[in-house]
């Protein structure tokens, strides 16, 4: 049951990529997959990279389903990778019960109820075990790692061995939010397929297809589309998580050039701590960090080097604080309070 409660599904209303029927954009990437199938020379490992929430995993699962359902027979010229959700392969893949597919993702720690910090070697071994057995349907076997950035060193090395000597008719689909940080040895085995963020129109289309539009307040929706950086995954989190709402309140103050006062930050700390949702805290801090990055970049472009440096440093400090807090399992409220202190210091020192 632990794997059923994965990170991706933990935010309500967002289907796991294994169940996702909607994909908007990434036509070029899909075309490359189709042409690889047509050429009859399918590379054994693909690295799908790009910002979080833009549909990398959705595309990977789509590719996997197509290959499991149709094999590597050349697809028709005008075809795509879409598979009917009623197709037996779609059903089994969505239930994680396809005997020729294994996926490794971050799982929820049963003791703490939080997602584990990394994908460990035990998870990687599931891949190795899977590959020691023949494919049940005699065709392709598919391995999905989402994201490959989360593999710890031992797990990455275990995976590396099979990437170097892949068994026949095996497709690895590795998803990465930060391909630059991967082991070069892993990166060099893969066909790199960088995916780009979607346009606001594409994000809007995605949300409409997922029936989010009707169920969401128009203003909240527009705000989410404007601030999701082309990632429908993030837009969905913004509309469903309390963190999105809280941050948009804070952003109003910040964008006006103000410094949040104690009453405001205390209210946020209380609400987030009360939510008891580790995702909400992570999302809130992510939003804050990308706001700081954005402002720092702007300041730098306007020749305001000092401000840029100060903001960038605050961002880095917050990131550091969060990592340490996670490893020490500190109290959410205290962590946030400390983060706000950093923020306030950085903002007060900068000329308005």
């Amino acid at each position: 049951m632990a794997r059923a409660a994965q990170e991706k599904t933990a935010v309500p209303d967002i289907p796991h990529p294994a169940e996702m029927t909607v994909l908007v954009g990434h036509l070029k990437a899909e075309a490359r997959m189709l042409s690889a199938l047509r050429s009859g020379r399918l590379h054994h490992a693909w690295l799908l990279s790009g910002p979080e929430g833009i549909g990398k995993a959705t595309l990977a699962w789509r590719f996997a389903r197509y290959l499991l359902a149709h094999g590597d027979a050349p697809p028709p010229e005008d075809g795509d990778l879409q598979l009917d959700p009623a197709h037996p392969v779609f059903r089994r893949v969505a239930a994680r019960a396809h005997p020729d597919l294994v996926s490794v993702e971050r799982i929820i720690d049963e003791k703490t109820g939080r997602p584990k910090r990394a994908i460990g070697v035990d998870e990687a071994r599931r891949i190795l075990h899977f590959l020691t057995l023949t494919p049940a349907e005699g065709g392709w076997r598919v391995v999905i790692v989402d994201p490959v950035d989360d593999l710890n060193l031992a797990a990455a090395n275990a995976l590396l061995k099979t990437l170097e000597e892949p068994p026949q008719r095996t497709l690895f689909l590795l998803i990465s939010h930060a391909p630059g940080r991967l082991l070069p040895t892993i990166r060099s085995r893969c066909l790199h397929l960088p995916l780009r963020p979607l346009t606001p129109a594409q994000v809007r289309e995605t949300l409409a297809l997922l029936d989010v539009t009707e169920r969401t307040d128009a203003e909240v929706l527009e705000e989410a589309i404007a601030h999701c950086q082309g990632a429908p995954g993030l837009a969905l989190k913004l509309v469903t998580s309390s963190a999105g709402r809280l941050f948009s309140r804070l952003r109003a103050t910040l964008d006006a050039g103000g410094v949040p006062d104690r009453a405001e930050t205390t209210a946020i700390v209380q609400e987030l701590a009360a939510a008891r949702d580790p995702h909400a805290l992570a999302l809130f801090v992510d939003l804050l960090r990308s706001w700081l990055q954005e402002r720092a970049r702007e300041a730098a472009l306007h020749g305001n080097a000092q401000t840029a440096q100060r903001l960038a440093r605050a961002e880095a400090e917050i990131a550091h604080l969060l990592t340490r807090a996670e490893s020490l399992n500190l109290d959410t409220g205290l962590v946030l309070t400390a983060i706000f202190q950093d923020l306030t210091r950085a903002l007060q020192a900068s000329p308005a």
């Binding site: 994680r96 019960a97 005997p99 799982i107 190795l128 075990h129 023949t134 049940a136 349907e137 005699g138």
Partner: protein, 372 residues
């Protein structure tokens, strides 16, 4: 779906299929058993994605259809129902399965049958029938030597293959090894098996198969596809993936010119090994065999726990020899030997040794010595 079925028949079938269902699975549908009601009765299927067990139960089908329910739960419920009672299984709606017997009524959560994995497809390349005793012989004689070391995954099962003997007949062999010992069993190949590719049947499937063979009477129907093997045993069908690897060329490690022949009473030998190894260290477990004409001395010397020695009479004509073996390995092989006398064939203290049954040449065991 609406069927009525006899409790004992259902319990027996559930007992077979539920044993492949893992207790702790992360995929909800895999803890369920698939029930399909058709003209022939009620078909039960369970799987762990590596293998699948299917069994049909005679049932009175009032309404065809399919459903799934938690396998262990269902097994526990049926087990507690009174002996010989009739029970009815129906599906009031998509999300539930009802089990009703007499005044007992259970409502179990169900998952859609369309989500249930399917391991059965595939056109067989080879089909043959093998007597239950033969298949059980292959497995029982070799399974103790299967490796559990995951890095050499191609040793994590029993290797079955056929070969032509010198007299032109075709034999089937089962081989298992973990690098320290090897077991090889050979029988005449069943008709239709000649020319089949060598396959490695995974350990878990082998053990499951052995359990099913326990109560079987009719010949086992075996079908081999490109990547799977299927065994039909008295109405129970086990299908398993195979190990995707090449079994090493084991013939190279079986010595052919070991000329020092020792004959010893199997039971006395095993009992003596068991006794002297009491003082051996947990790690080493080495037993030294000192052999001279008509006399075999087993000894263990453990600086921490003391030493032990036992003398046995034997039949031996070669030069005196001292050689060490792992006691557990000696015992496991001795347990396979049914006749009163065990034959050892040695070359020297550092070379692989052959152990075999004095009046059964269908099996042969190879054991690597230990330094003592």
């Amino acid at each position: 779906m609406r069927v009525t079925v006899e409790r004992n028949a259902l319990l027996k079938a559930l007992g077979h299929v539920q044993s492949v269902v893992e207790r702790r699975t992360t995929v909800p549908i895999l803890s369920n058993v698939l029930m399909q009601a058709g003209e022939e009765g009620l078909k039960l299927t369970a799987t762990d994605l590596d293998m699948e067990v299917v069994e049909e139960v005679a049932a009175n089908v009032l309404e065809g259809g399919a459903g799934t329910a938690p396998a262990h739960l269902l097994h526990d419920i049926v087990r507690k129902l009174p002996d010989g009672s009739q029970l009815s299984i129906e599906q009031p709606d998509e999300g539930r399965v009802a089990v009703i017997s007499g005044r007992s009524r259970f409502m179990l959560p169900a998952l859609p049958p369309e989500d249930f994995p399917d391991l059965a497809a595939g056109e067989p390349s080879h089909e043959f029938a093998i007597p239950v005793d033969d298949l059980a012989f292959f497995i029982e004689r070799t399974k103790f030597a299967i490796s559990t070391e995951e890095t050499r995954y191609y040793l994590n099962g029993i290797y079955f293959h056929t070969l032509e003997r010198e007299d032109g007949s075709v034999a089937m062999r089962a081989v298992a090894t973990d690098g320290h010992r090897l077991a090889r069993a050979e029988l005449p190949a069943p008709e239709g098996a000649a020319g089949m590719p060598g396959i490695i049947v995974p350990r878990k499937a082998v053990l499951e198969l052995l359990r099913l063979l326990d109560a079987a009477e009719e010949d086992v129907q075996v079908a081999l596809t490109q990547s799977k093997i299927r065994f039909a045993i008295d109405g129970v069908v086990l299908t398993t993936k195979l190990i995707d690897g090449n079994f090493p060329d084991y013939e190279r490690v079986i010595p052919i010119d070991n000329d020092k022949r020792l004959e010893v009473d199997t039971r006395l030998f095993a009992q003596a090994v068991d006794r002297v190894s009491t003082v051996s260290s947990e790690k080493g477990r080495a037993v030294k065999l000192s052999i001279e004409s008509e006399r075999l001395v087993l000894s263990v010397n453990n600086p921490e726990a003391g030493s032990a020695e036992e003398e046995l009479s034997c039949h031996y004509e070669g030069e005196p020899l001292e050689i060490g073996f792992n006691a557990r390995y000696l015992l496991e092989i001795a347990a396979q030997i049914e006749s009163a006398t065990t034959v050892f064939l040695f070359s020297d203290a550092a070379s692989p040794t052959i152990m075999r049954d004095s009046d059964d040449d269908r099996t042969i065991y190879v054991l690597m010595p230990m330094r003592v």
